[in-house]
Amino acid sequence: MSQAEVQQHPIRIYLWIWLLLFVLSTFSYLVDYFHLEGTLRWSLIILFMLLKAGFIVAIFMHMAWERLALKLAILVPPLCLLVLIGLMAIEGKHTFLTRLGAFIH
């Protein structure tokens, strides 16, 4: 393996990301602590979640420094899960409405 393939980075980067993950986790905990509701609640939860996930994958798992071929091979396939999420959300809603109708009559 050549030198370029060894993931050697300054420790400072890891400590900053570590701190950032602490801060972001505290924020998402505070969302619950202050009983935020509705759109504000779930948009903040998703924002903090995606930021945390992004920093873990990019810095801790070194994905930011990998070659594009590996990035594409690993990060693109999970996108098809969005289709699964969409379909199951439609199905869940349908089941809910069916049950509502069945239980009322």
Binding site: M1, E5, V6, Q7, Q8, H9, I11, Y14, L15, I17, W18, L21, F22, S25, S28, Y29, V31, D32, Y33, H35, W42, I45, I46, F48, M49, K52, A53, I56, V57, I59, F60, M61, H62, E66, R67, A69, L70, A73, I74, P77, P78, L81, L84, I85, M88, A89, E91, G92, K93, T95, F96, R99, L100, F103
Partner: protein, 226 residues
């Protein structure tokens, strides 16, 4: 490389298959172990997403009120009710272990045998304490709150099955990770990777561990906070 492949291909048809699939066609310029770990983590991503999507589906489709996680997982300390306190501590424990893991990988590439193995052991201990807290949480839920996979007194019956399935599978991953890290730490300590000439294996173990932390980020958001 091509000449080597032909030399290997000579003995029989199966060797030819192996050399055809493997020789001189490297797509990823990372050690093969690392590429394989990424492929495994990709498959694990699909498994965990299936669990979380199933949870989304049952939660959307039930007509019974979903138990409020903020209250279910609250701790009562000295007359105060602190929502999700144990879950918050578990989250910080796992993030801290991810930090020590990243440092272990870093010191591994610096060929610092002692610091690498000590940081790996620290990561494993933090992981073990996470599993310990999870055992406490499960006990509290099963014994005190009467939550079962088929029902519970708090609301929708699907709460229990989703909870035990998702956190159980994640906890199994953490437990396997602790064992994996301890094995790796022992190998670092005994100089196995110094003789091998590379500490790349520590980074591969790190990928697995960070993934366990990554999954928890999603479980924390969707199961506990939603």
């Amino acid at each position: 490389m091509a000449q080597d492949a032909q030399a290997v291909a000579a003995p029989g048809p199966w060797r030819a298959v192996v050399s055809d699939y493997a020789s001189d066609k490297q797509a990823f310029t990372v050690p093969w172990g690392k590429a394989m770990m990424w492929v495994f983590l990709l498959s694990d991503t699909f498994i965990f997403t299936c669990f979380l999507v199933a949870y989304m589906n049952v939660r959307m489709s039930t007509t019974v009120a979903w138990p409020v996680p903020s209250e279910v997982f609250a701790l009562h300390i000295g007359g105060h009710t602190l929502p999700l306190l144990l879950i918050a501590i578990m989250t910080f424990t796992l993030i801290t272990s991810s930090g020590t893991m990243a440092m272990a990988v870093n010191f591994g590439y610096r060929r610092d045998r002692v610091k690498t193995s000590l940081l790996l052991v620290a990561t494993a201990l933090l992981g073990a304490s996470f599993v310990g807290m999870q055992a406490f949480e499960w006990t509290k839920l099963i014994v005190d709150e009467g939550v079962r996979p088929w029902g519970n007194p708090l609301g929708a019956a699907q709460f229990g099955s989703s909870f035990f399935m998702i956190t159980g599978f994640h906890g199994a991953h953490v437990t396997a990770g602790v064992i994996y890290l301890l094995v790796t730490a022992r190998r670092v300590w005994t100089g196995f990777y110094d003789r091998k000439g590379t500490y790349g294996t520590v980074e591969i173990a790190g990928l697995y561990w960070h993934f366990v932390d990554l999954v928890w980020v999603f479980i924390f958001a969707f199961f506990y906070l939603w």
